[in-house]
């Protein structure tokens, strides 16, 4: 402790391990809460995936059944439906949200009046902080087919719909996904602009001046200076979020209902419904098996994204 020599690695190596551990004793204590929480809430559930090879109802001890749960799972059309729904909903949502956020950032960047810019930013970030329960409540009312539904009333008043033929957007298989994407764009596009705005503010103004000298107008500058600078950030955002596509749960859970299960069921909601909503005794073994499959696909995606990230971002991975 007396002789401060952390920068000299040779000197550090000479100190025996036990002395170095002793030197950092307080730090081990400080890490203890992280270790305890990590073991309890992350690692113990990981061990729990072994239940997927058993039959377990929470009362009797688990009995080993080998691959039965997986065989059952892969033969279930409902499982495959949920799996493809998960991929489709989260990937299209990701592309739409990112695309909209890029367009919005480019336009936001062109606003000259700083007060208007600040005000616009304050307003477009707002929905991000509303919980999914609140969002679902607000949009449930807006899209409702009754007279309180703003969208239906509006469509009737401009003559697109006739009175009596109101559309139940969140309750029809045809419209549910469209409504889901719109709600997601409304909620998170504004928030998504923050990261792009940060990149835009980092672009060297000299590049614009040079482009102006070369005779580039607004669109050419946007196309040849701004957009290339954003491209790296766009790829980064896509990669980081691609790793999370299997996590889709709450947004779908609060917006779905029995009428739209075929389009709105994703793996997480399928697991929930199998375990907690089914009549009779839960089969934890089966739902754990579905969860394990979800985790493994998620894990593969993270590793692929990490590999892509390292390629694109000069060696920086995502994890």
């Amino acid at each position: 402790m007396k002789k401060k020599n952390v920068n000299n690695s040779v000197a550090v190596r000479k100190v025996p391990l036990s002395a170095r551990i002793y030197k950092y004793r307080w730090f081990y204590l400080m890490f203890l809460p992280v270790l305890i929480f990590g073991i309890l809430f992350y690692y113990m559930p990981m061990l729990g995936v072994l239940l997927s090879f058993t039959k377990y109802n929470g009362i009797k001890d688990p009995t080993f059944v080998g691959m039965d749960n997986f065989e059952r799972m892969f033969s279930m059309p409902k499982f495959w439906e949920a799996f493809w729904n998960t991929l489709e909903l989260s990937i299209i949502k990701l592309l739409l949200n990112t695309g909209m956020a890029v367009i919005l950032s480019l336009l936001l960047n062109e606003i000259i009046n700083l007060k208007l810019k600040k005000l616009a930013q304050t307003i477009i970030y707002l929905p991000h902080f509303m919980s999914w329960v609140v969002t679902a409540s607000v949009w449930g009312m807006i899209l409702s087919p009754t007279s309180e539904g703003l969208v239906n009333t509006f469509l009737i008043s401009i003559g697109v719909l006739e009175k009596g033929s109101e559309v139940y957007f969140l309750g029809s298989v045809k419209w549910w996904r469209f409504a889901y994407y719109v709600i997601n764009i409304w909620k998170d596009t504004g928030w998504g602009t923050i990261i792009f705005m940060a990149t835009l503010s980092g672009i060297n103004p000299e590049l614009y001046e040079a482009a102006a000298i070369d005779g580039a107008g607004r669109w050419k500058k946007m196309r040849y200076v701004t957009f290339p600078a954003l491209l790296n950030t766009i790829i980064t955002v896509l990669i980081l979020n691609l790793a999370k596509v299997m996590n889709l749960f709450e947004s779908v859970f609060v917006l779905q209902n029995d009428a739209v299960v075929s389009t709105a069921q994703v793996l997480q909601t399928y697991i929930y419904a199998q375990t907690f909503n089914g009549s009779g005794i839960p089969n934890y073994g089966y739902s754990t098996a579905v969860g394990l499959f979800r985790s493994l696909v998620g894990c593969a995606l993270v590793l692929v994204c990490n590999y892509l990230s390292k390629k694109v971002r000069e060696g920086r991975g995502i994890v």
Binding site: L51, I111, F129, R218
Partner: protein
């Protein structure tokens, strides 16, 4: 040169700016209209709906129904309590963990980093977590919904990114002055990290206040519901507070939604910069 170019630009692109300005007014309106509609309906005592910008028959009866309803006090207190406790606990764990992760020479530091990293790659999933919570007797207990989200690896990494920006020389100076690691933590690290504490603290606070999934999974006793759970059952119509005075059911429902977002809407303009900062710390380095 640049001034001249700018002048030229200004003259040249005026129509674009006007169109762009109008576009943003429209975007902002699209964002605000749904919220505005709920606000208007929460203050309107008429049952005739449709498109209207102001209440036809103005009255606070919806809010009176919400606030005189005793069954809503408990969820509000639960939300407040878990948010305060969870944010405090979350910040404590994240700052301590992040402080340890910047001790590059510490034996085992890489093991600790990998310990956290692995949780971002693989997870046990919903059901095994539920069974662990059950076996720890943390279901149907507020302790469960406070403890479970308290270790957020993402927030911890954000905090570490911020701590990395503290000049190494400050740590060395503190050590030379005889500060123990704990003292350095309290006297050097924390005072220098107020902005990070604010932004990461706010992220915890928002996620605890908005928590619905964990309550849905681990709380079945309706005495322990938070406001989000209560709001959900009110909006779905199974648990509507009795309408008071001239309020209709719909007025009450809208008033409950506004009540859920009001505290945040008031604080939000003052806190916005911290939220933005949080995203940008994360963007520097994941």
């Amino acid at each position: 040169m640049s001034k001249e170019a700018k002048m030229k630009d200004k003259v040249h692109i005026k129509p674009f700016n006007i169109i762009n300005g109008i576009l943003f007014v429209i975007v902002c309106l699209i964002i605000l209209v749904p919220i505005w509609k709920v606000l208007v309906d929460s203050l309107d005592l008429r049952t005739a709906y449709g498109m209207k910008l102001i209440p036809e028959k103005f009255g606070f009866d919806g809010y009176i129904s919400v606030f005189t309803n005793k069954t809503l006090y408990r969820p509000l207190i639960v939300s407040l309590l878990t948010t305060v406790a969870g944010t405090f606990l979350g910040l404590t764990i994240s700052t301590l963990g992040a402080y340890v992760l910047i001790q590059w020479e510490m034996p085992g530091r890489n093991f600790f980093a990998n310990f956290l990293l692995f949780t971002m790659i693989f997870s046990g999933g919903m059901i095994p977590t539920y069974l662990v919570m059950k076996s720890l007797h943390l279901t149907n207990s507020l302790l469960g919904v406070i403890l479970l989200p308290a270790l957020s690896v993402y927030n911890l990494v954000l905090m570490r990114n911020f701590f990395e920006g503290i000049p190494q020389s400050l740590f060395e100076a503190a050590t030379l002055d005889g500060c123990t690691p704990m003292a350095t933590f309290f006297r050097v690290v924390l005072p220098l990290s107020k902005a990070a504490l604010a932004s990461i603290g706010l992220m915890f606070a928002v996620s605890y206040w908005n928590d619905y999934t964990n309550y849905k999974l681990y709380i079945t006793n309706d005495q322990l519901y938070n406001f989000q759970m209560k709001l959900r059952s009110i909006v779905l119509g199974s648990d509507l507070p009795s309408a008071n005075g001239g309020a209709t059911e719909n007025t009450v429902r809208n008033a409950a939604v506004i009540t859920a977002i009001l505290p945040f809407m008031i604080l939000y303009p003052f806190l916005q910069k911290y939220f933005v900062k949080g995203v940008n710390i994360g963007a520097v380095k994941e």
